[in-house]
């Protein structure tokens, strides 16, 4: 750090003459351009826009737009971040680091929600919606009451509980001197014994992958040894291409449209898997969904509304899917799907085309 500061000082000394000779390229940014991109908010209200939102509105928005990953009360679903609770856990094994237990500044919550959330639809929340969701997050962390309204005016009055427990990197004084000593080369300790093995945990994915690769290689080798004929090899090599062609012919899938749909599907991926090995996540897997009866994935817990629709004979043909994806909550009132819908019809058509590739 000291060397770095030295360099910095030298740089600062030359800053004035260098600035005089600055390379003039680019063009001045227009005020509206700066306004469009300058969305950051920092502590002490820096950058915070005018607006407000209350806990109740925030709860409605949160349940609709956030709860499918974070849970209705910020408790977290699967491995998505836990946003509430955890107070008092920071000195315990497996601490729970939430807005209430860990985050130092409320401005960070506002900034991040506005900048990057909801995960599949970033920068889709209005200023007031962001205030409301931030207010709800304060509420679920027991920092404000249920009738609280957060606004630009009272924002600075909220201090998060853990603000004072951060300090600047002190490795240069605490660690670097301790570790900067001539290392021992001989008889540095009496003996070294194994005290823990990763193999016991058996959580390494490589094991399975490497095993599969080895087995495949062995199978290929065996196959080559047994047949050893050009014909057999050619058939194997050609198989993937043939089946790909076969699929296209059978379903008459428009590959361009499906490719666009794959991009649109990024919005869905946070909750839905599709394709080989697809599993249920927050939402059911979507293999074979097109043309299938609604609520048909056996081991998925659908909403009662979705099950009722299935009993009424709802089948996910292109038309029904289109209506559902346009406005999920209008099509099936009470669906668990938190996604607010795809605005463009062309996006909906594309994503259905993409899903058609996976059976149905």
């Amino acid at each position: 750090m000291s060397k770095f500061l030295e360099i910095a000082l030298v740089a600062a000394m030359f800053a004035t003459p260098a600035a005089a000779e600055a390379i003039k390229l680019g063009r001045p940014a227009l005020p509206e351009e700066v306004a469009a991109w300058d969305i950051d908010v920092a502590p002490r209200d820096v950058g915070l826009p005018e607006g407000s939102g209350d806990v109740t509105t925030g709860e409605e928005l949160f349940v609709e737009k956030c709860a499918y990953c974070h849970g209705d009360f910020g408790e977290g679903v699967d491995r998505w971040p836990v946003l509430a609770g955890g107070q008092g856990s920071l000195t315990e094994p497996r601490p729970v680091k939430t807005i209430g237990s860990y985050w130092p500044y409320l401005s960070t919550v506002w900034d991040y929600v506005h900048r990057a959330m909801p995960f599949p639809e970033p920068q889709s929340l209005s200023v007031d919606e962001t205030y409301a969701i931030t207010a709800y997050l304060l509420y679920v962390n027991d920092i404000v009451d249920e009738d609280f309204v957060l606004s630009k005016e009272n924002f600075a009055s909220i201090k998060l509980p853990n603000e004072d427990n951060f300090y600047d990197d002190d490795r240069d004084t605490v660690e670097v001197p301790r570790f900067s000593v001539e290392p021992c080369m001989e008889n540095c300790k009496e003996k070294a014994e194994i005290v823990m093995r990763a193999a016991v945990l058996d959580v390494t994915p490589e094991d399975a992958a490497a095993r599969k690769a080895r087995e495949e290689a062995a199978a290929r080798a065996a196959e080559g040894a047994e047949t050893g004929t050009a014909a057999a090899e050619t058939a194997t090599a050609a198989a993937p291409a043939e089946s790909a062609e076969g699929e296209a012919a059978q379903g008459a899938i428009d590959p361009e449209l499906a490719a666009r749909g794959e991009k649109v599907f990024k919005k869905c991926k946070a909750c839905h898997q599709v394709g080989e090995g697809a599993k249920n996540k927050t939402g059911p897997h979507l293999d074979g969904v097109v043309g299938r009866k609604a609520a048909a994935v056996e081991d998925f817990k659908y909403s009662s509304a979705m099950r009722a629709a299935a009993e009424d004979g709802l089948v996910w043909d292109a038309e029904a899917l289109h209506a559902f994806l346009k406005k999920p909550k209008a099509f099936i009132k009470g669906t668990k799907m938190g996604f607010s819908g795809l605005k463009k019809d062309s996006d909906i058509d594309a994503v259905i085309e993409y899903l058609r590739q996976f059976g149905g």
Binding site: A22, T108, P122, F179, R220, T234, K266
Partner: protein, 422 residues
Amino acid sequence: MTRKSGPSTTRRGLLKGALAAGGAAVVGGAARAGNGDPAILEPQPWRTSLGDGVDAHPYGMPVEYERHVVRRNVPWLTADPVSSVNFTPLHELDGIITPNGLCFERHHGGAAVIDPGMHRLMINGLVDTPMVFTMEDIMRFPRENRVYFLECAANSGMEWRGAQLNGVQFTHGMVHNVMYTGVPLRYLLEAAGVKTAGTWILAEGGDASAMTRSIPIEKAMDDCLVAFKMNGEALRAEQGYPIRLVVPGWEGNMWVKWLRRIEVGDRPWHQREETSKYTDLMPDGRARRFTWVMDAKSVITSPSPQKPILHGPGRTVITGIAWSGRGTIPRVDVSLDGGVNWHRARMDGPSFDKSIHRFYYEFDWDGRPLLLQSRAMDSTGYVQPTKNQLREIRGTESIYHNNGIQTWAVNEKGIAENVEVS
């Protein structure tokens, strides 16, 4: 591609290759009269038929025998692969440069694919004139070429509580080393004219996560680059095409990809990735923040759990990598007995500031079990600590900046596994 006979004979070759690799001592070492090596005695297809023409592979890829050399992820680590990480296959690499397609990926809203014609870099805040640069503008500034490592602050973060993942790819694979071509950030800031009150910058990405990090102006004016090439070719999409920030020696999260904006301010912004994340929780419940520099670190890449010793006792090569955010690595020591005794490793290849260095240790293995360790010393004299030395200060919940000494236990068969030793 052009001949049907190719694949079949190639596969036969593969079988023999596998046999040769598995039983090298038998095939290679014990060839007797009348029992010669078929690799020599039999005509091989690559000698008796023609290979592909120059138009077969307009963009070349590794040969089929290397197709297992890929990035891999650990599915249970994160909720979703769109906001996740994969790992560089360090066990398969040598030298100091990471090939572009094998550089680990970490993004927070998927890998954006940006049309360079529509990309803009804005500089605003405490400047004389807020500026906008197109890619064409950026390319007209003087360029620099520098080799730097990029390490995620969470590299080895899964190992704080003890040995967990059985492979150097997973324990240490959130690092890569690339030659960047770029424009010093200083030139761009000077074009806008930083006001004297400007002491910090905020770097922001143009992807769906709009990643942001605060960086002190001293670092920004010192050695940061706005890079557009890696190893001579355009950045890969997953590495921030068309431009990324290069912040030498500092944690990877600060190297904002898809860089779209630099704001100059007079204090840090305390964004999510410098408060909720990338802060180091200490045993007393308080947390270190702004822990930017990556401490000196090394690891043996071969042998390692994914790269066992297959040749049996005798002449054996140990190799690995070392790097430091504070300078170069003049020295690495290797231990065969879990840190009781140490030997100076041989450094080889170029030694660049804040770059990966390559080391080797060649020895005669007697076939007895080994406890392999490596220990880096950087140009400031800092020596890589043991994991327990780190835990004494930091406990086991700090996630980031785990640069402790790694141990691989090698058994008499040459199989290696991730262990911790007393």
